[in-house]
């Protein structure tokens, strides 16, 4: 199996520049610096790489959205605010092969003609940020980043910035607000960041994993990358698996990989071989699928969409039969109520209200009306706010109730949770 990202994860001290270079880090620099930036964009476009932050939009196309005639500075911003429950794949890259991402940053910056890049770390990634600072210092010292990289005349300054710890700052426009020093509130789109982003300038926001893929594409060529995975979802993808499995962790598999195989082979099956009840495949905000659906699911964008869910960030949460659907959903609601930024009315009030209704249901104090109320709240939130945080709770509410309705009704009927606490 070709490994694009995790190839050197096992190597010790990969954060040290000399070790990383021994493993082939930064070999693509000379190649891209001799290329025209447009050619780099084309190469990535041809690879079919889709953004790994969750939306799955073509990376090459996104890079192409920077206005050609702009006189303003262009920024690359790396979204390292990985905060979605169940998602910890970027963290693995930042810890196990940080130079891979820096190399990707140089490629992307060069392609979009940016001379400044900000890496926005979630507040809790303190050690990862510290490590990155050390890596950047080493790279600066030897002229891999900074002014006149490798004598090419190309300048690139990379700044590692820590947020204060807010899920919403992973939303790209909220991230930009936070980076500018404002409250981390999403902005209304359009204008899109590629046109008017950081400090009002064209800005490309890319996920850590997306950038970590770029060195492979440049080194091996777009075709080599496109050969991996499926036709519409090319390449490999990191999946961070957690929940009721024997071997939780971060796994790199080609897109289109059967989930059943990932579960049984990579993850060693469910704990005590208990029955798979449900699967959240792409981070906490995507619609849930049942165990049966999950076992037939292939891990790529199209298959997930076909199953009524989304590949999202690749944050896989495996849920077995011992878990209570109402409690899982109540936990999700608690998270979104806590993390709603409070800007738009429907999300600010709707997430908190959902949480209260779900807590009541879980405690056995709910009524049969509550299910309809929850669905109404979900309807009234989704698509009616500036950013998709409200949708991120609305989708689980709808899917959990749809797929596990009897369990919700049992809580009402039995006036309590049938699962042992």
């Amino acid at each position: 199996m070709t490994l694009v990202i995790t190839k050197n994860f096992a190597g010790p001290n990969m954060a040290r520049l000399d070790v990383a270079m021994k493993h082939g880090a930064y070999v693509t620099l000379e190649k891209i610096l001799a290329m025209k930036p447009e050619a780099v964009v084309d190469e990535v476009k041809r690879s079919g790489l889709r953004g790994r932050g969750g939306a799955g939009f073509s990376t090459g196309m996104k890079w192409g959205f920077v206005p050609k005639d702009t006189t303003k500075p262009i920024y690359l911003v790396v979204n390292a605010d990985e905060s979605e429950p169940g998602t910890f794949k970027d963290r693995a890259i930042l810890e196990k092969d940080p130079h891979l991402m820096i190399e990707g940053i140089i490629i992307a910056s060069y392609a979009i003609k940016a001379h400044t890049c900000y890496i926005y770390f979630r507040g809790e990634f303190y050690r990862q940020w510290e490590l990155m600072e050390r890596c950047l210092a080493e790279a600066r010292k030897v002229g891999i980043i900074g002014n006149n990289i490798k004598g090419s005349g190309y300048n690139l300054n990379i700044i590692a910035h820590r947020g204060a710890g807010a899920y919403i700052c992973g939303e790209e426009t909220a991230l930009l607000s936070s980076l500018e020093g404002y409250r981390g509130w999403p902005r209304i789109k359009p204008p899109f960041p590629a046109v008017e982003g950081l400090f009002g300038c064209p800005t490309i926001v890319n996920n850590v994993e997306t950038l970590a893929v770029c060195p492979f594409i440049i080194r091996e060529g777009a075709a080599a990358y496109a050969k991996l995975g499926t036709e519409k979802s090319p390449g490999t993808k990191l999946f961070s698996v957690c929940g009721h499995v024997n071997r939780p962790g971060v796994y790199e598999v080609p897109l289109g990989y059967p989930f059943a195989k990932l579960l049984s082979e990579e993850c060693g099956g469910t704990i005590e071989e208990r029955k798979l009840k449900a699967l959240i495949v792409g981070g906490s905000s995507v619609p849930v699928v049942t165990g049966e659906e999950a076992l037939g699911l292939r891990l790529d964008y199209e298959s997930c969409a076909g199953c009524g869910t989304m590949l999202g960030s690749g944050g896989v949460i495996v849920i077995d039969e011992t878990a209570c659907a109402v409690q899982v959903l109540a936990d999700l609601a608690r998270f979104y109520a806590h993390e709603s930024c409070g800007q738009c009315t429907p999300c600010r009030e709707g997430t908190g209200w959902s949480k209260k209704v779900l807590d009541r249901l879980e405690a056995g104090l709910g009524s049969s009306e509550d299910l309809n109320l929850l669905l109404a709240i979900a309807d009234n939130m989704q698509g009616k706010t500036i950013c998709p945080l409200a949708d991120a709770l609305a989708m689980p509410i709808r899917s959990w109730i749809k797929k596990f309705r009897t369990e919700f009704e049992d809580h009402v009927r039995l006036k309590g949770c049938p699962f042992p606490s």
Binding site: S340, C344, T345, K384, T385, I386
Partner: protein, 494 residues
């Protein structure tokens, strides 16, 4: 030149320049789309989600405050879908709202009440304890915050940031615990802080001064002018039973847009003041005594008859209306007086700012100067003085130092310790009469009568007319309007 496009709003064809927002296009067409966070003078926040409307072909409802019109766009404001979306937004707002309308100052002029009444008559489905936040919190000298009533539209924050340039208000916390607060170590103490109370669509920000004074539905609003400085901000003078309760800015793009300053708002207090002169007063043996109009006029006539008209000086006022000043001058001219000067408050350079306020604290300096150019001062010599309005500071000292034979004061305010006049005639305040003033930019502005003159007071022009009548030289003025129309031809009043 901007292209004009045609769009349909609720079936009505509207021709509007391309790039206009749906909200403003609807406004042009006479349709007011419900909203909280949008304000024409502030940046677009788009957070309240109340102004959502249905646009044909769009994926979902769109916020009309931000979405720009395109040719052929079909917008529905009052469709069931659009109304439903807004109803649901209102339901969200009300789930954690305290619903303490009976003790809320905003009650009766609350956008949340009005919109909910319009969109839904259903009780709340919230049956779980609400989120509690600080109540009755003093956030500045003029403003109090009830955080539970707040809809978090951020108008107040944007006003301070964008209009005043003082970053005093912030949002704290997240989700349904979000609260408006003052920046740590700061207060909401800018000179325009009460504008945040006007901007607040609900009862979250209330005026410490007006709080719990009167239910708003008992108030009558009369269009008037602020007399706090030469800017002449247009105001609504809110009153009930001959008492003024507050000033609110009245929109006028040419003068004050929709703002006014806090000290200006507080000038209403002079109208209700205990220092108001409500009946004629004469000085007998060095002490002021209440008297009748008949006695006061007789005394005035007696005092002025003892002085040659050349020795009489008419002091008109930069604080009084054009009509009052014109009326008094006309009367004195009829008596053969030729010497006229004006007086008023001295300039306060520290009062000026870049937004509205002027160093000249008189509302009608520009106007009074059209009647006489000469400022009252040490050079002004006379044996008797007829004074309209108050004399302040040095002007009073100057007058007293001349040891005049007679001083007739026509004034609304008379501090107890100022016993410089022989006769005091009770002048009505500007709330109790109509008239014109000319602001610093030379703009002639009309103010209307809010209520009848208090006590036995009367507008200055009417007092002048009464005096003239007593002299046997009737002026024939029966209204401010007649004074203005008759007298303006003698002056260069545009």
């Amino acid at each position: 030149m901007t292209k004009t496009v045609t769009i349909q709003i609720d079936g009505k064809a509207v021709k509007i320049p391309e790039g206009t927002t749906i909200f403003n296009a609807a406004k042009e067409a006479g349709i007011e789309i419900p909203h909280f966070c949008y304000h024409p003078k502030l940046s677009i926040a788009g957070n309240c989600r109340l102004c959502q409307v249905e646009v044909e072909g769009a994926k979902g409802p769109v916020i009309s405050c931000r979405e720009r019109v395109r040719d052929g766009m079909v917008v529905r404001v009052q469709s069931d879908t659009a109304r439903d979306v807004r109803k649901n937004v209102l339901e969200f707002i009300l789930i954690n709202h305290p619903l303490d309308c009976p003790i809320c100052d905003q009650s009766g002029e609350c956008k949340l009440q009005d919109q909910y009444f319009d969109h839904s008559l259903k009780p709340s489905q919230m049956t779980w304890p609400k989120v509690h936040k600080p109540k009755a919190k003093t956030i500045g000298p003029q403003v109090m915050l009830d955080d539970e009533r707040c809809v978090l539209c951020t108008r107040c924050i944007r006003f301070c940031d964008e209009i005043v340039g003082e970053h005093q208000l912030i949002l704290r916390e997240r989700g349904d615990h979000s609260t408006i607060d003052v920046f740590p170590g700061k207060q909401l103490d800018n000179a325009y802080s009460l504008c945040t109370v006007d901007l607040c669509p609900v009862g979250a920000l209330t005026s410490s001064d007006f709080r719990f004074k009167k239910r708003v539905w008992f108030l009558t609003s009369t269009p008037s002018i602020c007399t706090g400085c030469a800017t002449g901000c247009n105001i609504w003078l809110d009153h009930c039973d001959q008492k003024v309760y507050r000033y609110r800015p009245r929109e006028n793009e040419a003068v004050n847009q929709c703002w006014m300053c806090d000290p200006g708002r507080m000038t209403y207090k002079a109208i209700n003041s205990d220092e108001r002169v409500l009946f004629p007063i004469v000085r007998n043996d060095g002490a002021y005594q209440r008297t009748s109009w008949f006695e006061a006029m007789a005394r005035t006539q007696q005092l002025l008859a003892g002085v040659n008209p050349e020795g009489i000086v008419g002091i008109v006022s930069a604080e009084a209306s054009l009509e009052e000043n014109m009326g008094l001058i006309r009367f004195l001219k009829e008596c053969g007086v030729t010497s006229f000067v004006w007086a008023g408050r001295s300039p306060e350079p520290q009062f000026v700012d870049k937004i509205l306020r002027d160093a000249d604290r008189n509302p009608n300096t520009h106007g009074v100067k059209m009647l006489t150019k000469t400022r009252f001062g040490k050079e002004t010599k006379g044996q008797a003085f007829v004074v309209l309005g108050r004399l302040h500071g040095d002007d009073l000292t100057t007058l007293v130092s001349q040891k005049p034979k007679a001083v007739i004061a026509i004034t609304d305010i008379l501090p107890a310790n100022e016993q410089w006049a022989d006769v005091v005639l009770p002048r009505a305040s500007h709330a109790e009469q109509e008239g014109h003033m000319v602001n610093r930019a030379g703009l002639l502005q009309k103010f209307e009568r809010a209520f009848a003159p208090k006590g036995e007071s009367a507008p200055g022009w009417q007092i002048a007319a009464r005096l003239a009548g007593a002299w046997g030289k009737p002026l024939g003025f029966t209204s401010a309007r007649e004074v203005f129309e008759t007298e303006k031809q003698h002056y260069d009043v545009v």
